[in-house]
Subunit: 267 residues, 4 copies
Amino acid sequence: SRFEYVKQFETDDRCLPNCWIVVRIDGKGFHRFSDQHNFLKPNDDRSLHLMNCAAKQVMTEFKDIVLAYGQSDEYSFVFKINTSTYNRRSSKLMTNICSLFASTFVFNWQKYFHDVKLKYPPAFDGRVVLYPSNQNLLDYLSWRQADCHINNMYNTVFWALVQQGKLTPQAAQERLKGTLAADKNEILFQDYAINYNDLPEFYRKGTTLIREKKEEQITHKIPQQDGTFKEKAELKIKSELVELHTDIIGSSFWNNHPEILTPKLKR
Amino acid sequence: SRFEYVKQFETDDRCLPNCWIVVRIDGKGFHRFSDQHNFLKPNDDRSLHLMNCAAKQVMTEFKDIVLAYGQSDEYSFVFKINTSTYNRRSSKLMTNICSLFASTFVFNWQKYFHDVKLKYPPAFDGRVVLYPSNQNLLDYLSWRQADCHINNMYNTVFWALVQQGKLTPQAAQERLKGTLAADKNEILFQDYAINYNDLPEFYRKGTTLIREKKEEQITHKIPQQDGTFKEKAELKIKSELVELHTDIIGSSFWNNHPEILTPKLKR
Amino acid sequence: SRFEYVKQFETDDRCLPNCWIVVRIDGKGFHRFSDQHNFLKPNDDRSLHLMNCAAKQVMTEFKDIVLAYGQSDEYSFVFKINTSTYNRRSSKLMTNICSLFASTFVFNWQKYFHDVKLKYPPAFDGRVVLYPSNQNLLDYLSWRQADCHINNMYNTVFWALVQQGKLTPQAAQERLKGTLAADKNEILFQDYAINYNDLPEFYRKGTTLIREKKEEQITHKIPQQDGTFKEKAELKIKSELVELHTDIIGSSFWNNHPEILTPKLKR
Amino acid sequence: SRFEYVKQFETDDRCLPNCWIVVRIDGKGFHRFSDQHNFLKPNDDRSLHLMNCAAKQVMTEFKDIVLAYGQSDEYSFVFKINTSTYNRRSSKLMTNICSLFASTFVFNWQKYFHDVKLKYPPAFDGRVVLYPSNQNLLDYLSWRQADCHINNMYNTVFWALVQQGKLTPQAAQERLKGTLAADKNEILFQDYAINYNDLPEFYRKGTTLIREKKEEQITHKIPQQDGTFKEKAELKIKSELVELHTDIIGSSFWNNHPEILTPKLKR
Ligand SMILES: Nc1nc2c(ncn2[C@H]2C[C@H](O)[C@@H](COP(=O)(O)OP(=O)(O)OP(=O)(O)O)O2)c(=O)[nH]1
Ligand SMILES: Nc1nc2c(ncn2[C@H]2C[C@H](O)[C@@H](COP(=O)(O)OP(=O)(O)OP(=O)(O)O)O2)c(=O)[nH]1
Ligand SMILES: Nc1nc2c(ncn2[C@H]2C[C@H](O)[C@@H](COP(=O)(O)OP(=O)(O)OP(=O)(O)O)O2)c(=O)[nH]1
Ligand SMILES: Nc1nc2c(ncn2[C@H]2C[C@H](O)[C@@H](COP(=O)(O)OP(=O)(O)OP(=O)(O)O)O2)c(=O)[nH]1
Ligand SMILES: O=P(O)(O)OP(=O)(O)OP(=O)(O)O
Ligand SMILES: O=P(O)(O)OP(=O)(O)OP(=O)(O)O
Ligand SMILES: O=P(O)(O)OP(=O)(O)OP(=O)(O)O
Ligand SMILES: O=P(O)(O)OP(=O)(O)OP(=O)(O)O
Ligand SMILES: [Mg+2]
Ligand SMILES: [Mg+2]
Ligand SMILES: [Mg+2]
Ligand SMILES: [Mg+2]
Ligand SMILES: [Mg+2]
Ligand SMILES: [Mg+2]
Ligand SMILES: [Mg+2]
Ligand SMILES: [Mg+2]
Ligand SMILES: [Mg+2]
Ligand SMILES: [Mg+2]
Ligand SMILES: [Mg+2]
Ligand SMILES: [Mg+2]
């Protein structure tokens, strides 16, 4: 039709080849959302598990995602370096992931929050960031995990001061102004007998989702001419999503999972 | 931290000023989704109303959207030309809208589909397109409404041939190959006594959402010194979402709603 | 060859349709360049005419440029709104114009600077800017002409103070700190009997290049059967570059040359 | 002023960090340009040397260019991977290089072409391409050098057929249709006693410009108290442009010049 020319105003937004494509999503206004739904402080297992559930759905749909990392109200999805999913079109990647994550979050709300009713449907923002080298990618993930650590330590002390120490939020904030990690550890240990390092890794490290190849023995029943069946075993390699709560800043995680970075065959 | 440099890899994606920003979203794989949930053919009111409901939620959240147009599994949202929502950042706009739409779709599913269970959470893709002139914007909307018309006429005849005419889908497709609008009208009229133009505008024109200013009389009770109350009337102008199923290709819609294009004060 | 894949790393940089494409170039380090070649202060006719000469060459090569505006060491070229020159590819447009301007500048140096030798080849930076509306384009051009005016007035007083007033450059700068246009006019008039508005428009307004349609009478000699010739007149419309030094901020220039903006047939 | 808002229509075009930035320029319409100036066929030393001269000027101005490769009417400039020249702004990089190259080409024309007059100032197009990995960069350069080889072999046979074999250009073209490298070698050797591999590397390999650190012994004369001078030697490391005509596809060039790729300290 004579209107079709408007299609030409769309732009080509394909990502530069041979770069790691990261899609990061983040809950919109989750300060308010967590308030309205009475999230436990500093960490609410229900919310964190629901986030992980939505992330797994995303990885199930997008087979080229090799790793996902989540904490708080955010998740980062890493595509294999030479993925051609959606022809590397940036808008397609971020909107599909972002909307699937959001719809899965609502879809599975009740499974995690039981009789707490979802008051309104949440939104998530999303963005695509490109990282040219492995080191850049590792530093990106370290940045997010370091952010998890810093916020979690702050929130842990803050809510100890408020909930157990009976300080007002303002007083707690004042108390923590200018304190370093060591100081916060000290407050937790001295005043509340909490050893920060003993807190669950789930809170301190966030969640890393990867795929692991598992061998699986499958038995086929082969019908014989005489009407009986013969069993035939077969080894099948299946890929399975695995949820970890471990350090991904140091090298040991990457040494243990070399296939995440290396199948890239980066030219 | 030493990882923060990775933030610099993010790009500035602000939209060119003084252009109409259109965000179009479209259901991912709704061919399968409509099959799996036994959508009525050619049009399923439940789905269309649910789409409209999600679009209204988007317009409620994003006050700078001046018009939305939806049909089939897609919706287009038009921001006022000089909006500064999210600083006109393209990724922010499309991902927030897309994810809010998707999560609202799931959130309200049952309200429209009653005991039909949602089998899996749907995704929507999204994109931003810029239109520099009013005419380009009108042509864009005409393009979408013409698409609605063409598909709806095709689907109407197709399903008449299949459901009433007992043709196989292949035979129906074959029968329609090369036919023009007039031919399709003829088949409908002669063989199935359907007058295409009498079908609901809801199907033929899609849905247009706009805001309408409504005057509302509010009565305040003003306490008097003698303990009594005096009533004081006030006229308040409120903006309300209005759902239309009308032609937006011709000029009469635009003449009746000049404020959609004109408050733009386009320099 | 196996290397050709690298071509895919090039990006599509076509400009949004239906926008005015402006290419602005600006001399690199012309502070030093004008010093080294002893440019007259505040304005050197040789340099300004050479700039205009280079700009005309650009307009001769690129037929879709409808107007060019130059001042100091810069020039802006405005393409007709729906040009398809180089498929609207941004890099192609700016680099071709920028390099042609630079090479023409050197090519014609001697014609304007006579026995002043060109000491080194100058560079020019370039950029593409898009303007969606006529008003944006006019404001862009006004911005450049206002810049011309402000700088020229400043430079005129500054060099009067230094050259005639025998102030040091520092003292002159100090003297002018915080002065308004009126103050500068006053200094010029009172102390140096210069009426700013009497200075050449060439300096105060910069140069505007446009094309003007001219009718031209051409006479063909048509050979006759008897060996004689018959003269036949023909009216041909030719387009000619015209150099103006006039105000382009007010509306009268645009009223006098409506074809610059209107042949756009902007949909 | 009230016009300054137009500055906001300019876009941020900074290149993705940690990628090799390549600026490739190419003569506009050099088919015609070489004709008009009677370039020798298939290779004109004057033109090739003038191109190299312009490229050296570019490298002298832009210290972060680590390598340049030229052939025919094109040149590629490779910036060190983490350069912050012009804040990595794409437009600035390509236009400055392109215009400097063009103006230098004209500036030095006579030095190479002596009494052949430059008929008109040439333009060069330019573009920026990003390469994320070393291998991508090497493949890019290989692509250009393979192109040099293929074109040069074709042109060499073609002009042998035309100039010595007295074929018309059309006949020569016809004769070469579908021939492989081996066939062309054979024609050259059998019919014209030319051993392709004996032709100058200057033509077959193009020109590679790199910087080489040279130690230089400088002698200072230090004035003594008694009025005499004592000589003091100092070793200074200077970087010098070196012009090579060698293979850069194989690994030996890169092994001999590891500092081109490695000082990158790519994280
Ligand atoms: N109580 C509680 N709050 C949480 C939990 N996870 C996330 N949140 C809240 C704490 C923060 O206020 C918020 C995440 O911070 P953001 O920087 O993303 O801010 P917010 O989402 O409010 O704004 P945004 O739209 O992202 O700019 O979510 C949780 O497990 N428990
Ligand atoms: N039966 C039925 N189907 C509908 C209705 N609305 C939309 N659909 C289906 C018909 C089409 O197969 C599909 C929309 O077409 P699309 O071109 O968007 O294709 P689809 O979503 O399958 O793929 P995509 O991921 O968008 O490329 O949705 C409805 O009201 N009733
Ligand atoms: N004396 C004199 N100087 C001029 C004339 N036209 C331009 N210039 C000089 C004055 C300014 O220092 C310079 C233009 O200012 P710019 O802001 O473009 O600075 P410049 O080119 O030095 O640096 P850039 O590389 O553009 O950032 O050129 C002239 O006619 N006479
Ligand atoms: N005779 C001769 N011609 C040369 C020499 N170096 C380059 N050329 C000519 C041969 C080609 O026609 C032309 C380069 O080919 P291009 O593909 O760049 O085409 P051209 O510049 O004509 O068009 P363009 O504006 O780049 O699309 O330059 C030389 O040394 N001798
Ligand atoms: O999805 P289609 O086929 O209706 O057309 P499109 O949306 O323009 O294509 P794409 O989704 O690939 O941008
Ligand atoms: O949202 P913030 O403040 O954590 O930081 P950001 O996500 O980098 O900022 P933005 O959401 O505005 O891109
Ligand atoms: O100019 P060509 O044909 O050698 O190939 P290209 O440079 O890749 O094409 P373009 O100049 O159009 O980008
Ligand atoms: O160069 P300036 O300072 O006149 O201003 P600009 O041209 O807008 O700045 P830049 O050259 O850095 O884009
Ligand atoms: Mg954020
Ligand atoms: Mg958030
Ligand atoms: Mg967050
Ligand atoms: Mg689509
Ligand atoms: Mg769809
Ligand atoms: Mg659709
Ligand atoms: Mg500048
Ligand atoms: Mg300058
Ligand atoms: Mg300037
Ligand atoms: Mg080319
Ligand atoms: Mg060329
Ligand atoms: Mg070439």
